[in-house]
Point group: C2
Chain length 132, copies 2
DNA sequence: AATCGTTGCGGGCATATACCCTTTTTTATG
DNA sequence: CATAAAAAAGGGTATATGCCCGCAACGATT
């Protein structure tokens, strides 16, 4: 028999948990990636795409596209920074409102997942990001 | 302060580890998703798209598209099954050859990851799939 | 044999993600 | 100050992934 691929296992777990968070957030019209993006923007706004990418550990071009999606939803604003090269992102009022509604939904899901995994595995989960 | 989102953590870890396996497999011209697909095909061939999807825990339409990619690479064959609705997949000779070359590369990466994470965290990976 | 519910695909649509290349703007250097 | 190097976006291309819808084939029931 062959060992299961650690990467495949991890991806599978990520898909599953993602679907869960997505379902919880669906009533608000956003998914977990967008929720995470909005939170990151709120904490650092106004913030450039590059900095956002560094923060979320995503490719800059990925950031640009993901931001465009939430921009179309009217959740964030995109402006030019002082540095004319930068595109700086900030939450719109609508974005703030959506975030406020989404937060308790997310928290409930987060808690359920935490209970289901237990503190030990949660701890390990956090360590994965550091180690890889 | 806000708790980090378990889902986001997991996705991030999955992206990172995925990039690693992808890099290792790049010389063979496939990525980890395709490697995993080829292995699944080899073990069950000839296998229908639906069954493959169930096996890999992927949406059937996703399976269809992913299979088409490796088909274009000449790694698998797609035929009609006895049941005329089914599209059955099997490895081509080239697919087998690529798999044989890819396996040792994958194994080395797999071992490195295992060493880096240690047994406890490795075990977590397996458990996540079950629990989520 | 005609019909109807089920199953299996394929296509359309959308998001997430990454890599590469080009253009624009800034900055550092001679 | 002029110019070259560096930084920031943006667009192109490609894969992975999921949902929904429609079509075709299969099987059971009448």
């Amino acid at each position: 028999m062959s060992t299961p691929c650690h990467c495949v296992q991890l991806r599978k777990a990520a898909r599953k948990i993602g679907a869960r968070y997505d379902a919880v957030l669906a009533p608000v019209g956003i998914n977990i990636a967008q929720f995470s993006l909005l939170r990151a923007v709120e904490r650092r706004q106004p913030v450039s795409l590059t900095e956002l990418g560094r923060t979320l550990d995503l490719d800059r071009s990925t950031m640009g596209r993901n931001v465009r999606v939430v921009e179309k939803l009217g959740l964030v604003r995109l402006d030019r920074g002082e540095d004319q090269r930068e595109a700086v992102v900030s939450l719109s009022e609508h974005g703030v409102a959506v975030l406020r509604v989404a937060e308790p939904l997310w928290e409930r899901c987060q808690r359920q997942v935490a209970d289901q995994l237990g503190p030990t595995r949660l701890q390990l989960l956090g360590e994965l990001g550091q180690l890889l």
